[in-house]
């Protein structure tokens, strides 16, 4: 297989795991899918490093593996214990509707990838599709754990997209961006535990609307 096909394959894995995390019904599965997403991002960076003969991308790949593969799920475990067995989706729309939207957004993503006139338009299209599906996830699911993993997944897709666009992210910005992901995970995990303790539920809507 050519390297371009590998690149598309890795991007497709990111799309699959993103769509998967939109459908899963518990926190543990979401964590596993996040780790798989991290592996796919690492793979994407590695293939890109070979394709572009860019050794800096190996550093980025290693950083992703260490920071997001081990660090972020480790930090998230701190708050996850509180929601390990909870599932409280009360969505008005069924999964078929969610899947229909996912297909529509995927088509849009491919179209966007073609329009931008940049390198690797197909891979770019797949990643844009994953990005739009990730965004959908943030707006459709209301469980604390689901929103938290959706945000972290969204960060993975965003950073993959940014690196694919640039072929190399400047190292200092790369390290700081990974630091932002860890800080975000830390806050999400603490808030997850606090919200579960406050409301006895993992559905953020139980918190009710704030005044005003």
């Amino acid at each position: 297989m050519s390297m371009t096909i590998w690149l598309r394959l890795m991007a497709s894995f990111i799309w699959i795991f993103t769509a998967g995390s939109l459908l899963v019904k518990n926190n543990r599965s979401a964590r596993i899918l996040y780790r798989l997403d991290v592996l796919a991002q690492t793979g994407l960076f590695a293939v890109l490093a070979v394709l572009a003969s860019n050794s800096g991308l190996w550093v980025s790949a290693a950083l992703v593996l260490v920071v997001k593969g081990a660090g972020v799920p480790g930090v998230m475990r701190r708050g996850s214990y509180a929601v390990e067995r909870d599932y409280s989706a009360q969505g008005k729309f069924g999964m078929s509707f969610v899947l229909a939207l996912t297909v529509a957004l995927t088509v849009m993503g491919f179209y966007l990838g073609q329009q931008l006139n940049v390198r690797h338009p197909v891979t770019m299209g797949i990643l844009w599709a994953a990005w739009l599906v990730g965004f959908l996830h943030l707006t459709l699911r209301y469980e604390i754990w689901s929103e938290a993993w959706a945000l972290l997944n969204f960060e993975i897709i965003t950073s993959a997209l940014a690196v694919l666009l640039l072929t190399q992210f400047p190292l200092v910005s790369d390290i700081l961006t990974d630091g932002v992901a860890v800080a975000m995970a830390l806050l999400l995990s603490v808030f997850m535990a606090l919200m579960r303790a406050q409301y006895g539920s993992s559905d953020v809507r139980k918190a009710g609307e704030l005044q005003g």
Partner: protein, 478 residues
């Protein structure tokens, strides 16, 4: 060496964080006062050639971030002492507050001083995450909800902003490692589609961080639940910083797309923000929440000024400063009301002029300033924005803005007497006002009357050059 000369005052906060970690909590208020003095001293270093921000706009915004950062450190001493006694804050929470505040102030200064677009995004992210943490410091149920909402919404926007920034920089053919914010002449063919997509995503991203409508939904909750010094920094500095980064990015697109695109985006978001504020401000019964909606109004005005161009750019830059003074006064005042009366919602916190005359008087002063009445500082900057809009031929937008401003004026002036006076028979008990809480707010009151216009007079060249960076000269040549 040059980069270090551009940014070293940020290191004051980094060192402060390092020192504060092992320090006993009882030392922190005095240590924080020392940090505030050092920050203010750093403002004089350009005179000695020891500090040299990347450009005039960086210097202008750094003055704003440093002055209001120093005020936040000053006010935090008495405020946190009162809050921690009132709500039995453990030592760990007090220390967490100060560490979070140092990080927040440092990141706001970095938003002014860093001269690389990707690092600017990182600075804005650090400001967001540290302020999310600070919003939750009071440990109440509502503050947790507000912090969660703030985190999820602004981080989603922030990630959209990162893709937008990258697409835009790529589209204009810019070197991402460049230590400069100035638009550069590029020789490569540019991708207009990437630039337009980048502009839209940057609008979503930085618009969310700035609290511009329709991306403002996190703002009223976060501003009303954060401790008062944090609310003031969010409103006076962070929102304006995000809009300035957005406008700087739009300036880069000029060789590829018309400048009008960026201006139209800013004008649309500005008018939408005024409309949202006008719709909600009259119905607020909680003081901090009222000022939160007022923040949406004023960030909308700043966006309008930057969008109008010409004279209005001077108005927008001045308004960042005048609104900062006025809103900091009002949030400190609302914090004082909460500390003294244990709440700041109507009807129980009415009659402030009778029970706490200094606090009530300062509220009356701040409210008079924020609605745009002369001779207070915000009046002059708002006037410049509106006159600038007319001279740049945006008459319809100016008329719309004036109608919405009148509605907001009506909303605030209809509500304010309910806080200041007691309906029916008077019988309010006098509450002792602690001077350490009143003096910082009084100082801001003096600045509101004279200091709003003094800054441009003190640094006229910086003021003018900062406006030129945002397109002042180009607007006039057209």
């Amino acid at each position: 060496m040059m980069i270090w000369l551009n940014i070293w005052p940020v290191a004051i906060l980094a060192v402060a964080i390092g020192c504060a970690v092992p320090m006993p909590v009882r030392w922190l208020p005095r240590f924080t006062a020392l940090v505030a003095v050092l920050l203010l001293a750093s403002l004089f270093m350009p005179l000695l050639g020891l500090f040299h921000p990347a450009d005039a706009l960086a210097l202008w915004f750094n003055i704003t971030a440093t002055v209001f950062g120093a005020f936040a450190l000053w006010f935090s001493g008495p405020y946190v002492l009162a809050e921690s006694r009132l709500h039995a804050w453990p030592d760990s929470r007090v220390k967490g507050y100060y560490l979070g505040l140092y990080t927040f102030v440092g990141s706001l200064m970095a938003m002014a001083l860093v001269a690389n677009y990707l690092l600017l995004w990182v600075s804005l992210e650090i400001a967001t995450l540290s302020s999310v943490y600070l919003v939750e410091t009071s440990g109440t149920r509502t503050s947790l909800e507000a912090a969660w909402k703030y985190l999820v919404i602004t981080e989603t926007g922030g990630l959209a902003g990162l893709v937008g920034t990258v697409l835009l920089l790529l589209g204009v053919g810019r070197n991402l490692t460049a230590w400069s914010l100035a638009p550069a002449v590029v020789s490569h063919p540019l991708s207009a589609t990437a630039v337009v997509a980048g502009m839209l995503l940057a609008t979503v991203g930085y618009g969310t961080k700035a609290g511009l409508a329709p991306f403002h939904t996190w703002l009223p909750d976060a501003h009303s639940e954060a401790p008062a010094p944090v609310s003031a920094l969010l409103s006076g500095v962070k929102l304006a910083g995000a809009v300035l980064i957005m406008d700087r990015l739009f300036m880069l697109t000029v060789p590829v797309v018309s400048r009008v695109w960026g201006q139209d985006i800013l004008i649309t978001l500005g008018l939408l923000s005024l409309a949202v504020a006008a719709s909600f401000v009259a119905f607020q019964r909680e003081l901090k929440r009222l000022w939160a909606y007022s923040s949406i109004e004023h960030i909308g005005l700043i966006a309008l000024g930057l969008g109008f161009g010409g004279l209005a750019i001077l108005g927008a830059l001045l308004h960042i400063w005048t609104h900062g003074i006025n809103k900091t006064l009002l949030f400190y005042n609302a914090g004082t009301v909460r500390v003294l009366h244990h709440h700041s919602a109507l009807p129980s916190s009415s009659g402030l002029l009778e029970s706490t005359p200094y606090t009530g008087g300062l509220l009356a002063l701040g409210a008079t300033g924020i609605v745009g009445l002369p001779p207070f500082a915000p009046f002059w900057s708002e006037l410049l924005i509106l006159v600038g809009g007319v001279t740049q031929h945006h008459t319809v937008a100016v008329v719309l803005a004036m109608v919405l401003l009148l509605a907001i004026f009506g909303g605030i002036t209809q509500r304010m007497p309910q806080w200041l006076f007691t309906p029916g028979r008077s019988g309010k008990r006098r509450v002792t006002e602690a001077w350490p809480l009143i003096i910082p707010t009084m100082t801001l009151g003096v600045l509101l009357v004279v200091g709003g216009l003094a800054l441009p007079a003190l640094v006229p060249q910086t003021f003018h050059q900062a406006a030129v960076i945002l397109g002042l000269a180009r607007s006039f040549s057209h």
